[in-house]
């Protein structure tokens, strides 16, 4: 009925999205119809998918649709429930808007060949993500997952001329396959414990604590690589910075969430979780949030900064999930509802505001031709709409009222604080101050970005000739901005969907609990309304005077404590703005600073340069790998090119194996022969 229709719509949407780029490939690169068909197909598929998600989030059943599996021992099963519908919704929203944005950002006329491949892989990415949410057995899941990862690779390397993009793609591929390896292990162990590859909740006795913990660990690592949990995140900044902006939006807003979806789904099928799983999630979540935003503060590349900020938000999502896990272990349904509700709502919220930020960043990069923040400045005059929407996105991502980021963080805070009231579980509340610190650091980071990029005076020639983005790039941003405001001002609209999704995860003990009952979302709406109305009232009183002032003295210079003759180069740069904070975090950021030595009376022009690289990649992994290569080099002594030596190795190996087998058999017959009867 409802869910069957929902499933049908979602499957249809997935297929249409996956095939949307194929006509473009077939029609030849000179024809504009390929791009038009791709965009229309994406929009159509997304609308179908939205309808399917609405049905899934509204209904409660679980229709299923199976295909014979190419691998013996199972069937390919697809089905939809509220959790799948929940995670699939951002795919369609962001995917559709991204496709529209991409028409103006990566115009078919300017990039005929790469545009075709881009649209094909884009559609394939969206389609495969849909199927990831629908898959209910290991083989189907892994196939869809691999298609998603590979199409992501081709999207990251869309700009073929850039060495950065190639390196980023390579890094992405390596990490992605490491994650897939863990997932294959996960499904293998799951099949061993559960009997077949189906993603079904395990019977409580089927797997002991050790096996369950192994499953949890494999799922956490495998999906955590995709989600970008620290310290497995190093592929993320490079990949999201090098990809085209609408692709970055989809990757940040949707693909990362597939990692979260995987962890959520995996934890939902493992019964009776012990407390230390939830505690591990809380620890990793806290570390990820605080350290990621510290890294973001050190970046000078606009999109890399946004990528690190995505990692921070993933940390917040993990905090909510960790709280829910602890709540499940301790039997506290209110923690589960609040924690998972906050986690899931933040999944949606992040998809909305991060996509908005990436679209706006794409507009800026497209207009100025550079990604470096320190070359921009004063763009708000020439790109007022983009600036306003970027500000909206920034306020949302900092979690400030009246927008949607506040609502999801509020839910997580409330859940964490509730644990402080319970004697003996107050340690669960410890991530709350870390979250508060992260919020303040996020404010610092986004004031830095917004202020240095859009406000002040232009810092370099890159800002000349900049004009506002075309409508096709502004409309998707405006839609996302409106959605942010809507969710922030009226969170009760999304509460039912959240409750249903949480119920799928938590099952029985949660019936009868409602999110609206636990969290005073009505008051949050009223606070948002009061804020907006109050601001409007006071602004109405102040604005006429200001308008008169601008008309009266249009060319007034900034007073700035009476310093006349200021130049644009005197303004605070991004790195100097963040310097107080990055200095305190220098032990983990390890910034590389090239400082000139000024030692003469009249020094020559000097050059200062600072850079923050990814610590895990550049200070841990690469040196480690180099050392490993050195060690391997010393093993070359066993490889002299001597044929006889190689045959000797084979003989030795066979002899050892034979002897080993003989000894084992001999041992077995000794033991069993003495005791048993032949």
């Amino acid at each position: 009925m409802n869910s069957d229709a929902g499933l049908a719509l979602l499957v249809a949407a997935g297929c249409i999205l996956a095939m949307s780029g194929v006509p473009g490939l077939l029609l030849g690169w000179r024809s504009p119809w390929g791009a038009r068909i791709a965009t229309s197909a994406t929009v159509l598929g997304s609308l179908l998918g939205l309808a399917g998600c609405a049905l899934a989030l509204g209904g409660m059943g679980a229709g299923a649709f199976t295909l014979p599996s190419p691998v013996p021992g199972g069937r390919l099963e697809f089905s939809v429930d509220a959790l799948s519908g929940f995670f699939a919704l951002p795919v369609f929203v962001v995917g559709c808007l991204g496709a529209l944005y991409g028409v103006a950002y990566w115009p078919p006329a300017g990039n005929p060949r790469s545009g075709r491949r881009l649209r094909f892989c884009y559609g394939l990415l969206l389609g495969s993500i849909t199927f990831v949410t629908l898959a209910r057995d290991g083989i189907g899941f892994l196939v869809a997952w691999e298609v998603m990862a590979l199409s992501g690779y081709f999207l990251v390397t869309a700009d073929e001329r850039s060495t950065d993009a190639r390196r980023a793609g390579w890094l992405y591929l390596v990490y992605s396959h490491a994650g897939t390896l863990c997932l294959v292990g996960f499904f293998a162990v799951l099949a061993r414990a559960g009997g077949d590859f189906a993603l079904r909740p395990l019977v409580p006795g089927a797997a002991g604590l050790g096996v369950s913990t192994v499953l949890f660990g494999l799922a956490f690592i495998g999906f955590g690589i995709k989600a970008g949990v620290m310290p497995l995140h190093s592929w993320l900044p490079a990949a999201h910075a090098s990809a085209p902006s609408h692709v970055s939006a989809v990757m940040s807003g949707v693909m990362l969430k597939m990692g979260i979806y995987g962890i959520v789904r995996a934890t939902s099928i493992l019964p009776l979780p012990p407390v230390f799983w939830g505690a591990a999630l809380l620890v990793f979540g806290s570390l990820t949030t605080v350290l990621a935003i510290a890294f973001a503060l050190g970046q000078r590349d606009l999109k890399r900064l946004l990528a690190y900020s995505s990692i921070e938000n993933i940390g917040i999502i993990l905090l909510g999930l960790g709280l829910a896990m602890v709540g499940r272990s301790e039997g506290r349904s209110d923690w589960v509802m609040l924690g998972l509700g906050g986690c899931l709502l933040h999944v949606w919220n992040h998809a909305l505001f991060k996509s908005l930020l990436f679209f706006a960043a794409g507009s800026v990069v497209h207009a100025t031709g550079t990604r470096e923040i320190d070359r921009m400045g004063g763009l708000a005059r020439r790109m007022p709409w983009t600036a306003g929407l970027f500000l909206l996105g920034s306020v949302a991502i900092c979690g400030l009222p009246p927008l949607n980021g506040f609502v999801s963080e509020f839910l997580v805070y409330l859940g964490l604080a509730r644990s402080a009231l319970v004697p003996g579980s107050a340690w669960v509340a410890l991530p709350a101050p870390a979250l508060a610190a992260t919020g303040a650091l996020a404010v610092a980071c986004f004031v830095k970005v917004f202020g240095v990029v859009f406000l002040g005076t232009p810092r370099s020639a890159a800002t000349e000739g900049v004009h506002e983005s075309p409508a096709l790039m502004l409309v998707p941003m405006a839609v996302l901005g409106a959605a942010c405001v809507l969710v922030g001002a009226a969170p009760l609209l999304v509460a039912p969907a959240l409750e249903r999704a949480v119920l799928v995860w938590a099952g029985g003990p949660l019936r009868g609990r409602s999110l609206a009952g636990l969290a005073p979302l009505g008051w949050v709406s009223m606070a948002a309304a009061a804020l907006l109305i109050g601001t409007a009232v006071v602004l109405a009183a102040v604005v006429p005077a200001c308008r008169r002032a601008r008309l009266r003295q249009p060319g007034l210079a900034t007073w700035g404590c009476g310093y006349a003759g200021g130049s644009a180069r005197l303004q605070y740069t991004a790195s100097s703005f963040a310097q107080l904070i990055t200095a305190r975090f220098a032990w983990v950021l390890l910034p590389k600073v090239h400082q000139p030595r000024i030692d003469r009376l009249f020094p020559a022009p000097a050059h200062f340069h600072s850079r923050v690289d990814d610590t895990v990649l550049d200070s841990v992994l690469m040196p480690g790998l180099r050392r490993l290569r050195g060690l391997a080099g010393r093993m070359r002594v066993y490889q002299q090119g001597n044929l006889q030596e190689y045959v000797l190795y084979i003989v030795a190996a066979i002899a050892i194996l034979l002897l080993f087998n003989l000894r084992l058999d001999w041992l077995v017959t000794e033991i069993c022969g003495n005791g048993g009867a032949r």
């Binding site: 090119g641 001597n642 044929l643 006889q644 045959v647 003989v651 003989l662 058999d665 001999w666």
Partner: protein, 213 residues
């Protein structure tokens, strides 16, 4: 037929030692030819009954291993025009001793292997393992590339002996497999020897380690 069988097996083991201990390539080739003929006789003796399959197998062994392959090898030796000495990296006496030791081990191990057959197995399995060991020693302890071919042939002989145990259990597959294997191996190895000689003007395999980098 057991006494005939055991004498044949003893002769095979002796020929192994001859192949290991001699310093002339021609002797080794002739020893392998003799082994081929003995294997044919072994096939007949092992299964007593002279049904078609066993006879075909014996004939194929005698013709191929006793006549055709030594012919090819002698022709290759003449074409390549190398010195007819073996040039061992492990001395002749040590390799002989090693071969003898391997034979003893093979007899000991053969009795410990969990095999189902009890009539032929105690004789054929040690013979097979000893021949395989001798083949390996020839492969690893000799420098000339042609010794690799010879060691490979002895190895195949050993596997053939083992396969005799299975003649009744499996159809032509075993024989066909073994003979095809042999044929392809000789073919490929002749080509390789020709090329090694052309490349390095010598069949010394130490030169091949230059290909390492």
């Amino acid at each position: 037929m057991i006494s005939l069988l055991s004498s044949l097996v003893a002769a095979l083991l002796l020929i192994n030692l001859v192949a290991l201990g001699t310093s002339r390539i021609a002797t080794v080739v002739r020893a392998i030819a003799a082994q081929g003929v003995l294997l044919g006789l072994l096939a007949v003796a092992a299964h007593g009954s002279l049904n078609g399959r066993v006879l075909a197998l014996a004939l194929a062994s005698i013709v191929l291993k006793g006549w055709l392959i030594p012919l090819i090898l002698f022709r290759a030796l003449r074409q390549v025009a190398i010195k007819r000495e073996v040039e061992p990296s492990l001395g002749l006496l040590p390799s002989l001793l090693l071969g003898a030791f391997a034979t003893v081990l093979a007899v000991v191990a053969g009795s410990h292997l969990p095999l189902a057959e009890t009539r032929l197995a105690p004789l054929l399995v040690p013979a097979s393992l000893a021949t395989i060991a001798a083949g390996f020693i020839l492969l690893t302890a000799r420098r000339k590339a042609i010794s690799q071919v010879l060691g490979y042939l002895v190895l195949e002989n050993g596997i053939f002996i083992f396969g005799l145990l299975l003649v009744e259990a499996m159809p032509f597959l075993v024989e066909a497999g073994v003979l095809l294997d042999l044929f392809v191996g000789i073919f490929v190895l002749s080509i390789i020897i020709h090329h090694i000689n052309r490349e390095f003007a010598s069949l010394d395999t130490r030169r091949m380690s230059l290909l390492k980098e």
